[in-house]
């Protein structure tokens, strides 16, 4: 009757195992070094993306309040242009913006 060793005999591994393992480990190290070089680059890109000043998008109200004559407002229109300038007070998210524009009709294009 066969013994277990006869059924599951000890086989010899293919040759060159240690050499192949060394190559794998060195290859892994080279690959790791390659990635390490990218780490500071990635960190710098991330920092730049996070710290880059971005324009804040504010949603303006549909109907700003048109100022006609409010002395307490910090924005004033000089008397000489008061007839042709409008100032709108635009409160947005805790701030007050002032929209200033001309009330004159657009000039005809010159020929």
């Amino acid at each position: 009757m066969p013994e277990l060793d006869d059924i599951l005999p000890s086989l010899t591994p293919p040759p060159g195992g240690l050499h192949a393992l060394r190559e794998r480990l060195d290859h892994r190290r080279r690959r790791a070094v390659w990635w390490v070089g990218l780490v500071p680059l990635g960190a710098a890109a991330l920092a730049l993306a996070l710290l880059w000043p971005r324009a804040e998008v504010l949603s303006l109200p549909e109907d700003p309040v048109l100022l006609t004559a409010v002395p307490s407002e910090p924005v004033t229109v000089p008397a000489e242009v008061a007839a042709s300038v409008a100032v709108a007070r635009v409160p947005v998210e805790g701030l007050v913006w002032y929209r200033v524009g001309s009330t004159l009709p657009p000039a005809e294009p010159s020929r």
Partner: protein, 171 residues
């Protein structure tokens, strides 16, 4: 005077590989039935061991590399079964005579493969681990995460099943 534990360096890894390559390869071969794939799994286990070298303690390194190898073997077999299920692996190496056929003969090697493949995973692991590793049942139990007595009972059950098919005597 206290002696400092030797660090697990590259030389220690390579020495361990030289010592364990054969038993690990033999266990892995009984999962893959393909020489190059079995060796590749063993090497992958050492690559992973190297990646964990900072956590490795000399007294646990051998059980650890066995555990990694057995896990890799199980995962690889699941992968092959999945590929076979989807028709990707049409000519699995277990259908071809391999290194075991040189020692056992083609027909006998095929019978052994079929008998080992028919073993439940837990019994197969216990059998291959205790047969090839030379580890004690206690160490094998630590690797498999079961009680020491369970290792023995699983091994015996595996041998009984093999004996039923192949008329094997456990030495």
């Amino acid at each position: 005077m206290t002696t400092e534990a030797r660090p697990f360096d590259r030389a220690a890894l390579e020495a361990l590989y030289v010592r364990l390559e054969r038993p690990l390869y033999n266990a892995a071969f009984r999962w893959t039935w393909e020489p190059e794939e079995a060796r590749e799994l063993v090497q992958e286990a050492f690559v992973r061991l190297w990646a964990k070298r900072d956590e490795v303690r000399p007294e646990t390194v051998e059980p650890l590399v066995w555990r990694i190898t057995l896990n890799l073997c199980r995962k690889r077999r699941r992968w092959h079964r999945l590929r076979t299920f989807f028709g990707i692996d049409r000519d699995r190496p277990d259908e071809r005579p391999g290194a075991d056929a040189l020692l056992l003969g083609v027909e006998r090697a095929r019978e052994v493969r079929a008998a080992v493949e028919a073993l439940p995973d837990a019994e197969r692991e216990a059998l291959l681990l205790t047969h090839f590793s030379g580890l004690s049942y206690r160490d094998a139990a630590a690797i498999l995460g079961v009680a020491e007595g369970t290792v023995g009972s699983r091994r015996n059950a595996a041998v009984r099943r093999l004996r039923g098919v192949l008329e094997v005597h456990d030495a």
